[in-house]
């Protein structure tokens, strides 16, 4: 990846936060790597949250937009602040390269920090808050599990630079003892191994792919278009079940997550 491409990708979380939040005031408190604002979208006051780079992060392994200790707990706090009778919607803007890989992170319980974030989003959803995530860059591994994957509705920009996976390419190649080229070839043959957003959508995990916008430098029209899709997703989430069952209901899921469905049917039949 070239330096410019990397720089463009690493700023998408901030770029889209600013495009969606517009002039809304940034909320004080929390780490500088967790942006939050309350934004009027489709008649709702939506809590918008994005995890972004911070070169001064006190934890060096979390300076590139990774979800680390402060980010996990910070996101959890931002989500739980919204809990209340109004059932306000929550939007996670997702551009996270990974969880933070470090010794301090492990010792101080990064697994619990990520659990806190996932818990907050899931609890919000179960309490009736529509939770929508908008994937604008990377949605990788534990970082995505913590920030975005518990949403009722996952939206994603239809953009070739988006990357969604269980592990970044270089690291996955090392762990599976394959070359990056081999991984890319395998991804073309075996759908769940692909990194691109269109392959991901074929698994039935995306509510809507949003095309025709400039993902690196969105215009005002692009922002308005995406905001309208967010408003629709919020309205849709409000009228449907609060669990994640919609991810198994689409024609794509029936085709490419058939085993996930079959296992549940067989378990139910034998449960007793």
């Amino acid at each position: 990846m070239s330096a410019t491409m990397s720089a463009a990708l690493s700023s998408r979380g901030r770029t889209w936060f600013e495009a969606i939040a517009g002039g809304a005031a940034r909320l004080d408190g929390g780490p500088a790597s967790v942006l939050a604002a309350d934004v009027a979208i489709g008649g709702d006051t939506v809590r918008v949250i994005s995890v972004v780079t911070n070169p001064d992060n006190r934890f060096p392994r979390a300076r590139e937009g990774e979800v680390g200790l402060d980010e996990g707990w910070g996101v959890a706090a931002r989500v739980r602040e919204v809990f209340g009778p109004e059932k306000r919607a929550i939007l996670a803007i997702v551009d996270v390269p990974s969880q933070a890989y470090g010794r301090a992170e492990e010792l101080y319980g990064i697994h619990l920090a990520c659990a806190a974030a996932a818990d907050a989003y899931a609890s919000a959803r179960l309490a009736g808050h529509p939770v929508v995530s908008l994937v604008v860059g990377r949605a990788l591994s534990g970082a995505f599990l913590a920030h975005g994957y518990q949403a009722n509705r996952v939206l994603a920009l239809d953009d070739p630079k988006i990357s969604i996976h269980a592990m970044g390419k270089q690291a996955a190649a090392r762990v599976t003892k394959r070359s990056v080229e081999q991984l890319e070839t395998l991804g073309e043959e075996i759908l769940p191994l692909a990194y691109d957003v269109r392959s991901f959508a074929k698994l039935g995990l995306v509510h809507e792919l949003i095309g025709g916008v400039d993902a690196d430098a969105p215009s005002a029209e692009d922002a308005a278009k995406v905001t309208a899709r967010i408003a629709d997703a919020i309205a849709d989430a409000r009228s449907r079940p609060r669990d994640l069952s919609s991810r198994l209901a689409s024609p794509e899921a029936r085709e490419n997550r058939a085993a996930s469905i079959r296992v549940r049917e067989a378990l139910a039949a034998q449960w007793g």
């Binding site: 470090g102 818990d119 518990q150 058939a258 079959r262």
Partner: protein, 280 residues
Amino acid sequence: MSVPALMSRTSFVELNARERARALLDDGSFRELLGPFDRIESPWLARQNIVPQADDGVVVARGTIGGVAAVAIAIEGAFQGGSTGEVSGAKIAGALELAAKDAKAGKPIRPVLVFETGGVRLQEANLGLAAMADVHAAVVALRRHAPVVGVIAGMIGCFGGMGITAGLVSRLIVTRQARLGLNGPEVIEQNAGVEELDSRDRPLIWSLTGGEQRHAVGLADDLVADDADALADAVRAAFERGQPAEHQSERIAFWRGRLERLPATPEGPALRKLWMGDRP
């Protein structure tokens, strides 16, 4: 442990997943769901020249714990490192979803998860990750109605997305052989370099993420000897305690407060000194 006790105990660590599930359920109550004869295997492994396994490395068993209806879900570390694939993940999430349905309907259920895994199976990548999100969703939904107990025995431990799951359970039981974290030491060394973490330094690894350390700072609730009977007793006792007042993953102010009190260098013993005073 005395010599006679050592001679008579059954090591839980050395049991496979099926035996572990059996050991935690009341005697004679074990009934496996989706057993090997159902042959629901991974649809993705064979085309990568990996021989699938009929249970995909997860055992789901109904039975009773302390006379109350239960489900034991045990991950088999010997198959693909206990990794979560589409089928194994769906077995875990699906069983938890059914348990939640029972609990919500007022039917008592005691769900126990036995972890032994490095996390998502990279050979099923995005479907493993999707299943992991389903598992997290299911634990959060279930624990609103019934406590969920987790056990990490070792020797693989519990890492990756399943480490997040361990952070969501109502009560977590570990042995000294257990490890708990998000990123395994090999992955940290590969990504951040050997100067960040030497994955071959086993005493160091256990001093950071081992069961004793996790228990000492309150990242695990109970530290139990590697003895099948002792672990079964601990699991039963955990259910008898009922719901915690607050789950650890909800205690934002407490844990953020602790993160303001860190040692000069990330060392296990130094952290214990700082954090043990207010062990949750």
